[in-house]
Symmetry: C2
Subunit: 145 residues, 2 copies
Amino acid sequence: MNIGEASSASGVSAKMIRYYEEIGLIRPMGRSGNNYRVYGEEEVHILRFIKRARNLGFSLEETETLLKLWQDKDRESSAVKDVATAHIGDLERRIAEMQGMVKTLKHLAHCCGGDNRPNCPILDDLAGNGVGDVPVPAAGRKMHA
Amino acid sequence: MNIGEASSASGVSAKMIRYYEEIGLIRPMGRSGNNYRVYGEEEVHILRFIKRARNLGFSLEETETLLKLWQDKDRESSAVKDVATAHIGDLERRIAEMQGMVKTLKHLAHCCGGDNRPNCPILDDLAGNGVGDVPVPAAGRKMHA
DNA sequence: CTTGACCTTCCCATGATGGGAAGCTCCACA
DNA sequence: TGTGGAGCTTCCCATCATGGGAAGGTCAAG
């Protein structure tokens, strides 16, 4: 099976399959006489594993860890669970951050007439003239040295 | 005021201030005799506006639009509201996507012993042997578009 | 033999940010 | 007056995962 077929069988683009090989996520594939990469069911299975891990938001680095654990018959399931749990925490942090943004934005949008007049509390808020609650202080880092 | 001072006054790093200038988000600053960029209150105000827009998750492109609307005294507030509303929708879509991931992951993690035995439903699921309800049908939902 | 669909490698772009090098300027202090 | 260091300048590189596209080889069907 050539790369195109492996691609449609796994849902991973040919471009990405080559990239995964380049960064060492998957082993370099054997080549047929014409220098084309050759794939078997085994490889497609691995690619599908990667695809699913990516769909769940795991980074390629985390995916690599999971892949190694998958192939390690002596793994401890706690190692897998740890990776998953950390990822859940990461997702929840990002979700909370975005929810904060949505909350503020909805409040501002609600206060904005959205008509043909220039008066706009959204811009007022961005300009520093808050309409109420102000999110994300987030500024004061490495200043002044 | 030099770039370092403008940076701590606005919360935008000097690196980013130069970058914003480079991509045309802000006008090139005047230079003093020593070739240092010179900033005034006006510019710091603009940088703070950008900072706040970024904190609310607006892209630099959206920020540019908002900035122009801010400076356009004849704007219609509906234009601003449209940008904000579209962004809210975008955030909500991403939140929903991540919540789906979290839901699946929590289910899997819940089913995983997390002990010293190799048996692991998380890996089983990634390998294609679902543990029950499994969203993300690898073939059905096109990431690409 | 030609055409077109594949495959190969290589380079570039994305978005927003940081790191760091090499070289300049400025200021304070001895 | 010299010197050190902080701060400024530009330039290049890295991130993360992905796609676009060019230039060229290969294969199968017409």
